[in-house]
């Protein structure tokens, strides 16, 4: 019992030390966002001020930027959850010609540097009349390859008995996905939601390229205007902006983190 105690304490001490190193940049970010910019070499600050929060939140456009980001995120989350379930289910359970090739195409979309795709994508947006609308930030991202990969792997590991039973009871395929597969996949969906949220909420270059007007500007693009001058970064504005924009993600993570752990648990056991 004694060794057990020491082991626990040792682990705790080690993790606390490591944890501090992980928390440092976070604490730095939040603390710095409340300080005046100071002539310090490392973007140092001093005193206490709300000027940067006032600058950002007090900006006339802020509610609009936030709303745009929220709309895009919600749409992308909903479509990704629904579509990844459907497509992932098809990949996991159905046999059809070309399945392997299609699957590698899914992965290929993750492997090509997107810097290469920006010129043709913008061209496409303009031609489809989506340029400078929120649709341009939603439609191309409504089924992400990473999420498909994740859902396919997860559903493959689920037991098929329940689906067969439901089918025997006369349930349609959509009903099976919705009432049988979706509840079992809750953990994977939680991972998917957090992943998609992180990527989409921080997305910068696509909104920058696909939109022009302030009325469809998203939060990260708007924040970049506050934070970057011609010859220097405005540290206070950057940190305040980052703090503000990471809040929703933290909330999402706290909401879903329990599901993640449980989720893969129930899936992996059935391998």
């Amino acid at each position: 019992m004694k060794t057990q105690f020491w082991k626990q304490s040792g682990t705790m001490a080690l993790l606390t030390a490591l944890g501090l190193s992980y928390l440092y940049p976070w604490l730095y970010m939040v603390a710095r966002s409340f300080m005046h910019n100071e002539p310090g070499m490392s973007g140092g600050g001093n005193g206490f001020t709300l000027e940067f929060y006032r600058l950002i939140i007090g900006n006339a456009g802020f509610p609009g930027f936030l709303l745009n980001s929220m709309i895009v995120l919600t749409a992308v989350l909903v479509t990704n959850v629904v579509f990844s379930l459907l497509v992932g289910y098809a990949f996991a359970r159905y046999r059809f010609p070309g399945k392997k090739i299609l699957f590698w195409l899914v992965l290929a979309t993750l492997m090509i540097p997107r810097q290469t795709l920006m010129v043709p994508l913008l061209d496409l947006m303009v031609r489809l009349g989506l340029y400078d609308t929120l649709w341009a930030l939603i439609l191309p991202f409504c089924v992400d390859g990473f999420n498909l990969f994740l859902m396919k792997q997860f559903i493959e590991n689920l037991p098929a008995d329940l689906e067969d039973a439901a089918r025997a009871d006369g349930a349609g395929e959509f009903a099976i996905v919705w009432h049988v597969v979706a509840p079992l996949s809750r953990p994977a969906i939680a991972v998917l939601i957090i992943n998609t949220a992180i990527v989409n909420w921080n997305s910068f270059i696509f909104p920058l390229i696909f939109t022009d007007t302030a009325s469809v500007r998203t939060l990260p693009v708007a924040l970049a205007y506050f934070a970057q001058g011609p010859h220097a970064t405005d540290w206070g504005a950057l940190m305040a902006g980052a703090s503000v924009s990471s809040l929703p993600l933290i909330i999402l993570f706290w909401l879903f983190q329990k599901q993640i752990i449980e989720g893969i648990t129930s899936g992996a056991l059935k391998d």
């Binding site: 992980y22 098809a90 010609p97 290469t116 010129v119 067969d164 940190m239």
Partner: protein, 746 residues
Amino acid sequence: MLVCTGARAGVELTFWNFWDQKFILPVIERFERENPGVKIRSEQMNWGNGFDKVVIAMANGRAPDICELGSTWMGRFMAEGALIDISSQTADLKQQYLMWEAVTSNGRVFGLPWLVSTRVLFYNRQLLRKAGLNPDEPPRTWAELLAAARLIHDPKSGIYGFGMNAGEGHILYKKFMPFVWGNGGRILDADGRFAFDGPATREALEFYLQLKDFSYCEKQDLLDEAFKLGRLGLAISGSWNFARYPVDAPQLDFGVAMIPRPAEDRGVSTSFLGGQVLALFKNCRNPEAAARFIRFLATASNTLPITREAMVSFPADQQAWSDPFFHADPRMQVFVGQIKTARHPPVVAAWVEIEKIINEAVEKGMYGMSADKVLSEADEKYADLEQRFAQKQAGQVQVTRPVGEHAAQTSESSERSDLWPLVLPSFFAVAILLFSVYLLYINRNTASGQSLSSACKASPIERGQRTLLFLSPWLLTFLIFWLYPLIFSFILSFCSYDAFHPALFKFAGLQNYLRLLGDQDFARAFLNTLIFVVATTPVTTALALALALLVNSLKRGSQFFRSVFFLPSIISIVVTATIFKSVYAPVGILNRLLAAVGVPAQAWLVDSDLAMPAIIVMNIWVYTGYYMVLYLAALKAVPGELYEAADVDGASDWQQFFHITLPQIRYMTVFILTVNTIRNWQVFAEIFTLTRGGPVGSTDTLVHHLYETAFRYHEMGYASAMAFVLLVVILFFSLLQMRAMQVVRQ
């Protein structure tokens, strides 16, 4: 042709610029009041990515009507015929404005100088006095500069003689060229031949390297701050400091002087001249009204508010200089004097590429290469560049000679009307055809999966339709939004194509791929990326597993630690990288921690041996927690009975780990390795924020290199070839890993 369009109703012109709209909008409002019928729509770009946006818009034929451009970009824009000739609309301003050389090509004017800026010598009077020098007589010659730096230099007490830019290769020429120019050297001679490799440059370089021994070598913002804190005796910097120093450090006793000349009896004092110009793109809908607007905007009274607040640059309109603002402080007159003697870099088509050659030469010299080698290498690079330009443009655009007449012709033939509109419809026609064939095929041939076969009574047709229905969201998205760009850039990789002439892509066969084989910069980027991938992927994975094991073994608090370690992956990587700039700063927390254990401070992002490791460490730090959460999930899934049985058998902790835990979570290891590898091969944001590939290319990675090729050097076809090489590399690694995954499955 440009008749009385100003009066036409409903003219709206877009104007892209970099400034806070509070400076721009009031001017627009006044202009619109005076010019009824003309509307100006202003869009602010941001300094970090604004030019990317211009390049991408241009490649799509959607450049704005009016645009603010950096003066050093003008050579290329003019030579390519991207801009409208406004000679007649600006002829009367010749005497009144500065920096015409930046907007003039073959005697024709393609832009209006708006804002100009230069660099001068800042000196700390107190440090001069302390070193026994007269603070009223700042160094005027190279010898005096060197002597003063030597006398002031006292690194043990944190005082440095001179501030020298390092770790940001892309701006070195601004600091170095004034010495060459002052010494009679040139980048291009009167005939447009490369003359950088001359005795004047060699002398300047040798002097610069001598100066380095008494210098503090860091990035611009850190040099400015060091000066502000009174730790730098001398530094060459810009007017923006002049606005900040008196406010931030009122006790700082500093002066400014002209850049020192080679000697009392030799050479001149000169500096770098650059700035912002206003230009009209070829597709401008109403050049006459647009020209009127830029004239209005660039006047002294409309530009002064920008100067007054940010002090980044001064109006190009010299009338502004009689404003009391420039006479409130005598030091201001030094800037005015230096601007009049300052030089703009050559205005030629290949300036951006030449700039790179010069930056690299200076940087390599600073990092230890001999002056001989540096200059001969620059010469070789220039020869390559000249040859490439000759090939690529088929003689239409020469490297150094700005081509007015040719440019006009080129732009006529590059109207987008010819072949371009056919590409997309035909692509979709083929795609829809393929899609329908696949539909039919899948409809007939679909068999149900194992789980379906027992209970499913549906006919094969029904099953096929169902499969399709389920797949269609992805199939449609892929077909519309991904396949077209993928094929497009695949075709581009076999073409010579640049953003200026989107309609003129010329088939180039394997040329791009062959060029990659001999491209040393690409090879270096490949090697850097390989090092990055090999260093980060296994370490991140192992650390994530270790953390997961530790957190998992906790009886209490595991949820807390899980969150702490996950937090870094939530913030945008750009912000994280910026925070790490401060961690790695000379007096950042890392150096302070090291100092506590007696290790001397390191210049993490400026030392060419340390920059890559610094970025690797940061990347590992950011992503460990993310993969730890995945591992934790896998660990929770290992059946507890296995461990109980092992305990009964008396197996040690290590035995249990190797024989139970590791095999049980192997599938997760392979998954993490796959995803992590795919991501690491594409590392970009960290590099772009922290080092931009420097110092001396030591952190230039594939995607960063590709990005520069596409957006800085406009070679989109070549960049596409890089992308597909990268795709193949990643594909190869993923196939290996998938194999491994299948092995695990069995």
